[in-house]
Amino acid sequence: MLGRTLREVSVALKQGQITPTELCQECLSLIKKTKFLNAYITVSEEVALKQAEESEERYKKGYVPPYNATVVQKLLDQGALLMGKTNLDEFAMGALGSDTGGSTRNPAALCGVVGLKPTYGLVSRHGLIPLVNSMDVPGILTRCVDDAATVLGVLAGHDCKDSTTVQDPVKSFILPSLTDVSKLCIGIPKEYLVPELSSEVQSLWSKAAKLFESEGAKVIEVSLPHTSYSIVCYHVLCTSEVASNMARFDGLEYGHRCDINVSTEAMYAATRREGFNDVVRGRILSGNFFLLKENYENYFIKAQKVRRLIANDFVNVFNSGVDVLLTPTTLSEAVPYVEFIKEDNRTRSAQGDIFTQAVNMAGLPAVSVPMALSNQGLPIGLQFIGRAFCDQQLLTVAKWFEKQVQFPIIQLQEIMGDCSSVFENDLASVSLKQ
């Protein structure tokens, strides 16, 4: 059951082939067996089971829900169960994240799942802890493109609690199964061919382009000339908004508060020092620097202007007849932890987000679709970028691609079933060594 699509499971539930509680138990059991992967930070077992019970009731009568983030609420309204907060999710039925510069798409690519960042303004941010209000979007992680479309269909639409959501009614997201791609025009941005791109990813990118071409699509090279400025631009805007959004964490209304009583200022300073880690503190200090009166024009305003240029790059490309852009999502497969910690966070995210963050600055929809395993057996995904509010078209193309490449989706249950004890011991010992 855990290997099926959302629709299949939904049908099974409706037909009584499996009850919500049974399904919930299966999930909980798998979570327990794969505990060594540390995928879940929190497992809300009791809550999940309770919700499963309520779900069983609901199959019979109507339901009025309490307060939650709008997107969570919408899912709950549709009968979803909240399994808990995930660390990394590679086998869920569907999970929510947030995507500000690629933080849904990047993990998706590295873990071999589908990661969708909808158009900015399509999905409510009410209840989403903000990082960069003008770029944040709830991100959707699923096993297949169809599931992502299903979830998007539930989540999209105007929310009166979020003034940045569009008013226009949202069409449904049932994806056609595309067979003929001859009318499609795929754009390949040349500036995305960077030296740091691993040869494996590069070759998969080429292969994908050729795949479209061979099936009749038009594949052309395009230019996004301001790409090279996007990292710095993003850095200025991101840290500025972060500095602003973090100002509310003063320990007074909620959260950690330290014991200093000398004065309010002293309490704030100590609380924030203790409560924020190095990375966050660094961003806050940078952001405040850029927002100082004497710097505002040269940094913040300038970055806004550059952002406009970057967004216009995409507009121009789409206006020239391109339907969808095809790019890598990440520079390479997942980097081992030991390698990862060698670079500081700023460099790391600068490198890691290079393909994904321009999309956030332009507010466009983008989806990462797993393509193949690397030589090391780790997943690699590619990214499709669509026109604003053409999320359905984007996902249609992604679905076609997904069908073509037949990525070997991990079937954890089977693996666990076959060699559970061996696996547990081996993987556990590996993680201990690291």
Binding site: S134, T264, L292
Partner: protein, 516 residues
Amino acid sequence: MAAPVLRWSCPARRWILANIDRGPRHGRGSPTGSRSSGKRGQSSVAQQPLATAQKPRKGEHQWAAVVGLEIHAQISSNSKLFSGSQVHFAAPPNSLVSFFDASLPGTLPVLNRRCVEAAVMTGLALNCHINKKSLFDRKHYFYADLPAGYQITQQRLPIAVKGSLAYSVFVGKNRNQVINKTVRIKQIQLEQDSGKSLHDDLRSQTLIDLNRAEGQLRVDANISVHHPGEPLGVRTEVKNLNSARFLAKAIDYEIQRQIEELENGGEILNETRSFDCKLGCTVPMRDKEGKQDYRFIPEPNLPPLLLYDSASLPAGADPQQVINIDQLREQLPELPRVTREKLVQQYGMLPEHSFTLLNEVGLLEFFQNVMKETRAEPKRVTSWVLNTFLGFLKQQNLAVSESPVTPSALAELLNLLDQKTISSAAAKKVFEELWRSGGKTPAQIVSEKRLELMQDQEALEELCQATMEKHPQVVMDLKKGNPRAINKLIGLVRKATLNRADPTVIKEMLERQLSS
């Protein structure tokens, strides 16, 4: 084309020069800000009549003050500006706080339509230009009553700009000389209010109520002084004044303080001060701001606010989603200036009286209701309402709505007076009684206290005659030309009538009888 332009501008210049030669003028307002200026302080620099040909030079002994007011006015609405929580005066602390008001992460501001309408209407009433596009910004600073660490305001592009307000000042011994002035309104902006801080010095703690600060009006005054002709001086800000009286006192004090400081060779610091109403002086506030950098950024969760007028309204627009400035303009109530002009026109009222009528809440309505039910002259009604009625209210510190005397009662009283059923003096007594014991009608009081004027003319004639016969000495004095004698006679007759005769009538009768 150059020559004609030059020629046009010359006469104007000459005019200005002529004025300077003739004497000091009222200081002009400064180029920016809503300012009103005037010469203050020592009588030696009191305004000189324009006719004098005195030449003031560089104004070493003259000071001009420049005052700018920042007025915080709470909008009358059912819910707050950005959150759905309700607004109730004097609610228990923290009982009207939504997740957004407490700045819980993930909450977003949603603009309240009624507040935008109120801002537009205020802008229209103050002759402002309404910006069809205005923007929201975040103003950052840390303070316990600001849970988000920033305030949402309109710094870059507010909703209304460049307005004006014409007003009148009454001067002179009887405060009946009118000077008409205009003050400029720089801008009107929508912004969030902070919470309320309550300092508990005993326990060294501060308590925060996030219902939002109460008090419908708060004013910060910016004050500087300079010599006319020289650049503006350094300004200080006096914060949190919440009555017109304290505002005036604070400004007067601060102007004086600055002049004295500068004349003693000191300098004015660009600082924030508060007004100590007990001591009647301004004092520096704890320097929590200094040179604050508010690190403004655009509020990313609120798109630009777009307003329309009938010309620009998109076809088929949902009226729930748009605000039409022209529609709001039509809904504006009659502005006070217009009302006052009408009163002067309709009733021949003195301008200063029209001000008084409008400056007291409910008084105009009271006046109009009395007018509806009485045949008495408007001037008499005005006098009774503004002097007697208002006097009683002020004495007991009551609002018009708390008055024990209804408009109908006063109207009835004035009718009795008008019909000469009672005398003026009697009317005052009736009014007193009306005030003290609500419920009785004027007619009842008149009859209870036997205050009706004598209607029987013959009987009065007889009384006059009789009184004169009883007091021949007074009559003698009168015939000798003693002016006070007549009053004494009148007094005697009145007493005899138990005060039920009009002194004017008595006087007439006596004089007639004496002359015959």
